[in-house]
């Protein structure tokens, strides 16, 4: 069971969180022309990579905040966590 550092609450066990997928996906702006390819990439196409991955988790049984977690999908090592509005350098 992962041990995730919620930037709002501190270290918490994985069973308090729910997974939210790739955090690098950006939703196209509203009311903007979007090509089929762009939209497909946003809705469907995801890399299933092995290695460092920036992903979303929601602290659903805690502060209910969505957070960003930098995690290695192969080793499950968590490097850093960020608040939703924090820039990831």
């Amino acid at each position: 069971m992962l041990y995730i550092n919620c930037p709002h609450c501190g270290m918490r066990s994985q069973n308090e969180f729910s997974y939210g997928g790739d955090a690098s996906v950006k939703r196209p702006e509203l009311n903007k022309e979007v090509s089929d390819q762009e939209w497909d990439n946003f809705v469907y196409n995801r890399k299933s990579l092995r290695g460092k991955h920036l992903e979303l988790w929601q602290h659903i049984s805690g502060c209910r905040q969505w957070i960003k977690v930098e995690r290695d999908t192969g080793t499950h090592e968590i490097f850093r966590t960020f608040k939703a509005d924090e820039e990831v350098a």
Partner: protein
């Protein structure tokens, strides 16, 4: 009844307390402190079971967790549990056990004919033989295998025992209470670290209980007792026996199974049977010791052949002689320690040592005691069927290839030592890349992956002096990092005998003309010849060899077989062992009761139960409940002998003719507040929200980004910046997360807050032509006329002194209202509605009537919004704005979603107006078409229309728009029904929607 193999003095058992127990129907006596194994051995019982594949007689091989054979069916306090290791089960008064895996009895086993007839089941046997003919599998092979093979029998009764889960955090978790565990725990505890020390056996001390050593001028055992006693007094230390750490998971989470009650005749009141500990540790010290390896020789599975360390443990801990004419077969000094113990208790052992001229302090001691030693000698084969009677022995050449003349030696047990294998399972589970250590012919942990350190024998360190030094240091250093204390602990001086180098010898060659079975894996009956076959047939990877032969795949996970298997593969393949590599160790290290894993989450506790504030009223009024997610909702209210169909029909009819009331508390409710609330709704819902006035409700549909309908519901503008959103019962949690996702991540600039208010409000839907009359009487001071409170209107009212929210919304399609009050007043509201409604013939209605009402109105619900449909499919395209953008809009342009013959909701009526159509039935054009009959659509929901008094269903049908009036067939192979049907409009009742506006 005599314990003929119990020694007069010695052992750590309590001889003042005799215990009586039964094995295979026969009564025996043992002592408090015995295991079932030691008590049986004290009574001279060596035959405990039959092997898995060949049904060969099986005895005891080990004395603890490494035991591959001695599994029994245990009976305790009216319950039974299969596959309990006799070597781990502590004896209690009245214990009963039976052999597993033998049919009809352990002494006469029909399956053993396999063995006598030499129909040996070689490697891959199951794969090859049972493949054909196919029809034989169910009729012949499977029943035979199930009966003749297999282990114990699980109980089919409800388990009366209770199991607990516990979450714990600590600085240092220490697995194993041998010398390294004790030393590191002590040092860390002295530094003030929070320590958990876990020992799987009842007694602490590990190898110190059986080894002849001195620590700080005391015996090893006394030193261990002193340390444990001191640790138990320290508030920062938890010391647990009977507790096996069986899994090492991510981020230093380990799981431990504590046997709280298995050693007692019955579980004490309020105690659990087992307790599962989830421990998050900052540092983990693995001091799990090592397991002795067997040497492979002919018939080495005969009862009476056992590990030399086990024989020593039975003697020193339990005071039991495993034989009175023992033969010790060893390639290292450990065998001598066992021989010396035998000799000390008046039994004359013979030692066969594979080495030519070993010299050490231990060997000198054995010689001084007059123990007979034969160097460069091996056991070629054990003789005797149900028990060792003698051994064929021979000298062996220096290159270990040639055997001398075979001699027969009488003996009643053969104690084998092939040196030691570190127990690296936990380190390996942690992700540690283990490495092969030439000097000990075994794998040891390499680079740590998580915060784990392996100490002592588990790390391949067999010298006590070195083990204590490194373990005190590790405990001290790791705790210092955490607590910043540096309290010095004096390292005691150690007296131990030096041993000499072991012999890298593990398998006795077959003598000419003999074809003895030489077993590697005792539990799964994998012999040397099986691995040879696998390699001959082209399997190379050790993982493939393992699966093909089942080597190491039994419940003991190859604790005694893995390394010998690797040695064999490496020898045949002419590779070194590390190049062959070992198979992956996975949790659990030992089998764990399913009950312990499940814990308290059984039956009603498997999920929470949510009840509305009116629940007790429903109960008192003969409600039959149904699970709606985690909620319990009234399905119908039973009157007299009514069944579901009759009751729901009555309730629905009463709504259509008079007035009914339904508990809608379970609907999800979300407060949406803030200056940008309308903008959020406008982006989330498919229709327009910016112009909704205060005091008005609107129906909305929300999509996922892929265009699929996610949920629907009404949202009401309570005040300028305050909206009350409702969701379906099932999607309430998902919708809240969905809104939070967009507010926090996608549009953080929106100034809106959302919070669930589902539990803050109790809700009652009042529906039917007389609902307004009733409402007026409930709220005499409010104007609830069609003008005062029009369709989709909202107002606040005073319900006999209780503040209420009144919404004019309808799911039933009738003139209807929803009244909400704060939850604590829910029951008050409900009783008032019933009381005042009496003159209008009010009746409560449940979910079944609710479904009927919505189905015949063509209102969609979860069975249509099933995660596969878009707004058009549900005839909701009128709610999709063309002017503004919203979540999922772009996806609605996908070609499949705008196809001419796109699926769409329709109504379905059976031609005979009699036969109800099972939900899930397929709609097809031709009921006689060959399979697979092309499916045009499916029945999503069915009811008995109370308006027309005939069956009516909703369906999602391909090209549904153009199918009205067509005749099709509804086919349900599950219910074996073919029903001719006509396709009609989904709005079966009141298609213009006049009633809700009346």
């Amino acid at each position: 009844m005599t314990q003929a193999f119990r020694i007069e003095n010695g052992g750590l058992i309590n001889k003042d307390r005799k215990l009586s127990f039964k094995f295979n129907g026969k009564t025996y006596l043992g002592y408090e402190g015995d295991t079932l194994a030691s008590a049986l051995l004290a009574n001279g019982v060596h035959l405990v079971g039959r092997s898995f594949k060949y049904h060969r007689p099986r005895g005891f091989f080990g004395a603890g967790v490494d035991e591959p054979y001695a599994m029994v069916q245990l009976y305790r306090n009216g319950e039974t549990e299969p596959n309990i290791k006799a070597t781990e089960q502590e004896l209690f008064e009245g214990l009963e056990a039976k052999s597993v895996n033998c049919w009809p009895s352990v002494n006469f086993d029909i399956g053993a004919i396999n063995n006598f007839l030499k129909i040996f089941l070689p490697a891959g046997f199951y794969y090859k033989t049972f493949m054909w003919p196919k029809s034989f599998w169910y009729r012949i092979y499977e029943p035979f295998i199930r009966k003749a093979a297999g282990l114990g029998v699980a109980s089919t009764k409800h388990d009366k025992e209770r199991y607990e889960h516990k979450y714990e955090y600590c600085d240092l978790l220490i697995a194993g209470s041998g010398p390294s565990g004790l030393a590191s725990a002590y040092a860390a505890a002295k530094n003030g670290a929070k320590v958990i020390l876990a020992e799987d056996k009842p007694r602490f001390g590990g190898s110190l209980l059986t080894s002849d050593v001195n620590i700080g001028n005391q015996s090893g055992k006394d030193w261990a007792e002193g340390i444990i006693a001191e640790l138990k007094t320290m508030p920062n230390v938890v010391v647990k026996n009977r507790s096996q750490i069986f899994g090492y998971y991510d981020h230093n989470m380990l799981v431990m199974s504590e046997k709280v009650s298995d050693h007692l005749p019955a579980t004490k009141k309020y105690h659990p049977n087992k307790r599962l500990w989830y421990i998050r540790a900052k540092e983990v010290l693995i001091s799990s010791g090592s397991i002795e390896r067997p040497i492979v020789f002919g018939n080495n599975d005969t009862p009476g052949v056992m590990l030399s360390s086990a024989a020593k443990e039975y003697l020193k801990v339990y005071g039991v002689l495993v034989g009175k004419k023992p033969l010790v077969f060893t390639n290292n000094d450990s065998g001598y320690e066992t021989a010396i113990e035998f000799k000390k208790h008046g039994v004359d052992p013979i030692v066969l040592d594979t080495r030519k001229k070993p010299e050490s302090e231990i060997i000198d001691e054995a010689k001084n005691l007059g123990i007979k030693i034969k160097n460069s000698y091996v056991v070629v084969a054990a003789q005797g069927y149900k028990k060792v009677k003698s051994a064929d022995i021979a000298s062996i050449s220096e290159d270990k290839k040639q055997l001398g003349e075979i001699e027969n030696l009488k003996c009643d047990c053969i104690c084998v030592s092939g040196f030691w294998t570190p127990t690296i399972h936990l380190a390996s589970q942690s992700g540690n890349k283990t490495k092969f250590k030439e000097e000990i012919d075994a794998f040891v942990p390499g680079q740590s992956k998580q915060n784990e350190v392996t100490l002592g024998a588990a790390n391949g360190v067999f010298s006590l002096d070195e083990t204590l030094k490194t373990s005190f240091k590790a405990g001290s250093d790791l705790s210092k990092k955490i607590t910043e204390n540096d309290n010095e602990v004096a390292i005691p001086n150690v007296v131990e005998k030096k041993s000499s180098q072991h012999d890298k010898f593990w398998c006795v060659p077959l003598p000419k003309g003999k074809n003895y079975k030489r077993f590697l894996d005792f539990q799964n009956d994998v012999a040397v010849s099986d691995v040879e076959i696998a390699l001959r047939e082209g399997y190379r990877s050790i993982e493939h060899v393992k699966r093909y032969t089942t080597l190491g795949m039994a419940t003991d996970q190859g604790k005694t077989s893995n390394l010998n298997g690797l040695q064999l593969v490496s020898e045949i393949e002419n590779k070194v062992v590390p190049a062959v590599g070992h198979t992956t160790f996975r949790p659990p290290y030992t089998p764990v009761s399913i009950g312990a894993i499940v814990g308290r989450e059984v039956g009603k506790h498997s999920k929470p139960t949510r009840k509305s504030p009116m629940h007790e009223w429903h109960e008192k009024n003969n409600s039959v409940f149904v699970d709606a997610g985690v909620w319990l909702r009234p399905r119908y209210y039973k009157k007299g002998n009514e069944n579901l169909f009759e009751a729901s029909k009555r309730e629905a009819k009463n709504v259509r003719t008079n007035v009914g009331v339904c508990d809608v508390t379970t609907l999800g409710k979300i407060d949406v507040k803030g200056p940008d609330a309308a903008e959020l709704l406008n982006r989330v819902y498919t229709n327009a929200w910016l112009k909704l006035p205060v005091g008005k409700a609107r129906y909305g549909v929300m999509l996922r980004e892929d265009g699929i309908v996610m949920d629907d519901g009404t949202t009401t503008r309570i005040s300028e910046n305050h909206y009350h959103m409702t969701t379906t019962t099932a999607q309430a949690a998902n919708v809240l997360s969905h809104l939070e996702y967009y507010l926090q991540l996608v549009w953080p600039e929106l100034n809106v807050n959302v919070v669930s208010t589902t539990e803050q409000w109790a809700g009652a839907a009042i529906a039917g032509p007389k609902s307004r009359d009733l409402l007026q009487k409930l709220f005499p001071n409010s104007d609830v006329s069609n003008e005062g409170l029009p369709f989709m209107g909202y107002m606040e009212g005073d319900l006999f002194g209780v503040k209420a929210r009144i919404f004019r919304i309808s799911f039933s399609g009738e003139l209807a209202y929803e009244v909400n009050v704060e939850s604590d007043y829910g029951n008050f509201m409900w009783e008032k509605i019933i009381e005042v409604g009496e003159e209008f013939n009010i009746q409560p209605y449940g979910t079944e009537a609710l479904s009927t009402l919505r189905i015949e109105m063509g209102h969609v619900a979860g069975s249509e919004l099933d995660g596969r449909t878009i707004p058009f499919d549900n005839a909701l395209e009128g709610l999709v704005s063309k002017k503004k953008d919203f979540i999922g809009k772009r996806s609605l342009e996908r070609s499949a979603f705008i196809a001419e013959d796109r699926q769409r909701i329709v109504g379905v009526v059976p031609l005979d107006k009699q036969t109800s159509i099972p939900e899930g039935s397929h709609l097809v054009k031709d009921d006689k078409a060959p399979l697979p009959n092309p499916k045009l659509g499916h029945i999503s929901a069915s009811c008995w229309s109370v308006e027309y008094d005939n069956p009516f269903s909703l369906a999602i049908l391909k090209d549904g728009k153009n199918m009205i009036g067509q005749k099709l067939f509804a086919m349900s192979p599950l219910k074996n029904k073919v029903i001719p049907v006509e396709i009609v409009s989904s709005h079966y009742v009141d298609p213009k929607g006049e009633r809700v506006r009346s």
